[in-house]
């Protein structure tokens, strides 16, 4: 038998009086590391990290599917409304999920829109999480919404159309199996979910003015960005670095828009120093308290 050690379960998360039956996977023990998937995808993006023995011997890695994504169904009544992810709901849901699992100041890590929301969560709930790791994070990017119409158009097969966008964001150096794995994850996205997520990423998220507030907790803010992602070039992360005094920015020449999926080894090269820094900070904090 060759059974992976990942456990998948459902937890009921309540937000604004609505119940969300939420799928999550986890593996490992130690400090909780909660992972947020990209727009239009789900927690399967973190499968490599969830089975990385070096990581899971030190961290309880947890990845969940946002409602409407993966195995987390939309709530009852979804058929009467257009799906549009808002900043308010996204932040509330992340905090509610963490509390529902009873996690104590977990490390929060998210990619793309999950990396964008890191700045929103850090601003509104700085003390609920031990550290914030934004992968391919941006402060503001309205252009994502430019293609949303065609992902909803009855004469366009959105499942096929998305493949080109996703392929363009992956490094040419990624192994073909990893590249096509990401494309497949996106091609099975439910109708309207990717443009619904773009509503948050392109319209509702704008953290350009958060600099003064986030600078106060910058020792707990980390930004990892791959050079092959045309939505997150150095000019984009430079603006964040200039705005948030003290944020740690790690740029990788080997990564693109989906670091945890496209090249798990290169991702570890970027992530390990960040986790080491967080651990060091935790030790220093414990020593100070004693």
């Amino acid at each position: 038998m060759n059974i992976e050690p990942i456990t998948g379960r459902y937890i009921h998360v309540a937000v604004d009086g609505r119940n969300y039956r939420t799928y999550f996977e986890e593996n490992g023990q130690g400090e909780p590391l909660v992972c947020l998937h990209t727009a239009g995808a789900d927690s399967i993006e973190f499968r490599h990290l969830l089975t990385d023995a070096e990581i899971t011997e030190r961290y309880r890695v947890i990845a969940f599917d946002m409602p409407w994504h993966g195995r987390s169904l939309p709530p009852d009544g979804w058929w009467e409304e257009e799906y549009r992810l808002t900043r308010e709901f996204y932040v509330k849901f992340i905090v509610a999920f963490s509390r529902a699992l009873g996690l104590d100041k977990p490390i929060l890590m998210g990619c793309s829109m999950g990396g964008y929301v890191m700045f929103d969560v850090a601003r509104q709930h700085p003390d609920d999480f031990g550290a914030f790791i934004s992968l391919q994070g941006r402060d503001y990017e309205p252009a994502w919404d430019g293609l949303s119409k065609w992902y909803r158009h009855p004469e366009v097969n959105a499942n096929a159309m998305v493949q080109s966008l996703i392929a363009s964001l992956i490094p040419a150096t990624a192994a073909p199996a990893r590249r096509h794995e990401i494309e497949w994850i996106y091609m099975r996205c439910a109708p309207g979910v990717l443009p619904g997520d773009f509503h948050y990423a392109a319209v509702d998220h704008d953290s350009r003015s958060y600099g003064p507030e986030l600078s106060r907790i910058a020792d707990r803010l980390y930004l990892i960005a791959g050079d092959w992602d045309w939505s997150c070039f150095a000019e984009h992360t430079d603006r964040i670095r200039q705005s948030i005094n003290g944020i740690t920015v790690v740029r990788s020449p080997d990564l693109g828009h989906f670091p945890m999926s496209e090249d798990p080894v290169a991702f570890r090269r970027a992530l390990d120093p960040v986790l080491a820094k967080i651990a060091e900070r935790g030790k220093a904090g414990n020593a100070a308290r004693q």
Binding site: G146, S164, P171, W230
Partner: protein, 133 residues
């Protein structure tokens, strides 16, 4: 840049490569590929793909994919972060800040038809890389 040999090799490649065959099997569109001062008409009819050099006004097309000779040459060489894929070369400029990466390609015409056929188009363009001729 567009030699007869290149057109022949490109046509053969797109009609035999298994990935392109899968991506284009129901594709039906006509596209103008502008390569600097030259142009090609790319026609797909239920997966059968042809390339017509220097098309005349008698040849209508649904959408155009335009770029300078330099842009196409960049695309033809080994991919870099700014020349990795036709989609990024046509869209990255929309996200650029001051002095950021430019849009090397322009997409114009019937956008519904274009985006419906984007994977087919990209699979065909991908064969342009490494072509002899």
């Amino acid at each position: 840049m567009i030699t007869d040999q290149l057109v022949t090799n490109w046509t053969k490649a797109v009609n035999t490569d298994p990935v392109v065959r899968l991506a284009t099997r129901y594709a039906t569109f006509s596209s103008l590929l502008e390569i600097g001062d030259e142009s090609l008409l790319l026609k797909a009819r239920d997966g059968e793909i042809s390339l017509v050099k220097s098309p005349t006004l008698e040849e209508p097309w649904d959408f155009a994919f335009r770029g300078s000779a330099d842009a196409w040459q960049k695309f033809r060489l080994a991919p870099t972060p700014t020349t990795n894929h036709p989609m990024s070369m046509a869209y990255q400029g929309h996200m650029a800040l001051a002095n950021g990466a430019p849009n090397y390609f322009r997409m114009e015409g019937n956008y519904q038809k274009l985006f419906a056929h984007m994977p087919a188009l990209c699979s065909i363009l991908d064969q342009f890389r490494g072509l002899e001729g």
